[in-house]
Symmetry: C2
Subunit: 325 residues, 2 copies
């Protein structure tokens, strides 16, 4: 199944089912007014939702309407908890090599993750409103999962049973602000403005064999101002999402609707390019001895989409412009 | 005005007004079902709420009932954003001196703050469910404010106008897990389990002259297993809450209902004791050359309450036991 939240008068949007090919939408307010509600009541709703989805794909719903990505908010327009990992180790290794940073102790054994702000997510085509180009505006292409309630102490073996939906992310980052925040040990805050999400969140079965081992085994295609920037594959994720879930649930429960991100998709094979500018800058340093790639300017655009082998985009496309706030 | 959220079938509880002396409560569901709603619609509701509160204090509401702190959830049982500062510099200075930690660069000029998990707060008398004594279980007595929507770029001069309510906090911390998380630069996650709050959140006018300069000028009384542990005063806060709000709103808006904490209350005058065990352990090291104070054990209790000069507790009392999850 595929879900979107259309922009509406309420901050949580108007929940719709979206057809597999992303062309049609169907209002399911009679079943669940919000995606949060659907996640909380998944067991009770799943059968009816499946039935609706089947009919939508079969063209049997007279009230279906065209799905307009420009009307889409984030699938969860806000959430009670947003946790973002850094689970592709090649990203960190590259940054450390280029900028002479000390390796983060134990990063290959314990998932890196920061607590993000979930109160105010951007939709897939929303302008990214930011106060200053001097902050080092960067995109980060990621995968993310949405879980139902995860009890404290859930193990990695149990964790995948809690994954209800999968989506893609633009984890907007302000690189000039990050080093100071990392140095305090308190983590990112000003460096992580509101995050953007793909048009739809989808059930794992939509990916078939491409969802396995708690990883999305698909390339994430990134372009910047219409130019190819990278297509790294999710298969290189060092930890699976189950590891991230178990790590974050060690000392607390994760409430239903918690969103967990993979961190920037990054591959050891450098020919696939990058999912964030920061990584390209690290490669500049390694290759040329200097940074040659600037960060984003106001007016710049980024496009992020995962692709199936047939070229289809299961989560739809993130396409955003950076705009002066 | 004083607000509490009583435990109910819904995660956001049942909003009540509580009398100034904390003895009576009055259901205000006809005005606002949740504190989140009240904060979002403050301008429209304030006059009617004030009227109700006056009548409640005057004993004119026949439907008022006894306020039972054991029925209280956190005033905001969950929130879309929880930001916790470390604004009492004497706390950090002490830790650094005792444990030979490097000072955090610029901590006297830029507020330290981490993004916390707001999805699942504890009420004032809830058991603190935790998985292991080996994690170094600590309490932290703090003040906190609840704001209405704060636009991106709000200045410190404008910020206090957004403070709607003030309360107290037990920012439960797992000290054995914190150093590793700080060293990664990604900030606290496992080290910060669910946070607990006082029985009521109150409007600034309830504190009279004790709320000024964005600080609560009152002592916070802490006891551990019935023994005095400290009564440091909020007046020593190096930054005001307005500084914290402006800092966190630099690159994003704060949605209505965002809760911001002061960090452990700590005074340069050491005779007033401490608001967390970690600080006492630092004093042990400085005085005796060794740590003599253990962290909390299962079954231990902590009590946290701010006191007015007449001995009354404007926010009520946090009184919790640590229990094995």
């Amino acid at each position: 199944m595929k879900f979107a939240s259309l922009k509406a008068d309420t901050p949580d949007g108007r929940l719709v089912l979206v057809s597999r090919d992303l062309t049609k939408a169907f209002d399911i307010a009679h079943l669940a007014a919000t995606l949060q509600y659907a996640i909380e009541n998944w067991q009770a709703l799943e059968r009816e939702l499946q039935h609706c989805y089947q009919q939508l794909n079969d063209g049997q719903l007279a009230d279906a309407f065209a799905f307009d990505v420009n009307q889409a908010a984030a699938p969860m327009p806000r959430t009670w908890q947003w946790l973002d990992g850094s689970l592709f180790l090649s990203h960190g290794e590259l940054m450390q090599k280029a900028f002479n940073m000390a390796p983060i102790d134990g990063a290959e054994k314990i998932p890196l993750v920061y607590q993000g702000a979930g109160d105010d997510f951007y939709g897939p085509t929303d302008d990214l409103l930011l106060p200053s180009e001097a902050h080092g505006i960067d995109f980060e292409g990621e995968f993310a999962v949405i879980v139902d309630e995860v009890p404290m102490g859930t193990t990695a073996e149990q964790a995948l049973d809690h994954v209800r939906l999968i989506t893609i992310v633009n984890d907007v980052s302000l690189r000039a602000l990050a080093p100071r925040e990392m140095a305090t040990g308190f983590g990112f805050l000003q460096a992580k403005p509101s995050t953007a999400f793909g048009p739809v969140a989808i059930t794992p079965d939509e990916l078939g064999q491409h969802w396995r081992d708690g990883r999305v085994h698909l390339p994430l295609h990134i372009s910047w101002n219409g130019q190819w920037f990278g297509n790294p594959n999710g298969s290189d994720m060092h930890f699976g999402f189950h590891d991230l879930i178990a790590h974050t649930a060690l000392t607390r429960r994760l409430s239903a609707g918690t969103v967990l991100g993979s961190g920037t998709v990054s591959n050891h094979n450098r020919s696939v390019g990058s999912a964030c500018i920061s990584e390209r800058r690290a490669l500049d340093v390694i290759e040329f001895g200097e940074i040659r790639t600037p960060f984003m300017k106001f007016g710049d655009r980024v496009r992020i989409a995962a692709a199936m082998p047939d070229g289809s985009t299961p989560f739809g496309v993130i396409e955003q412009q950076v705009v002066s706030a």
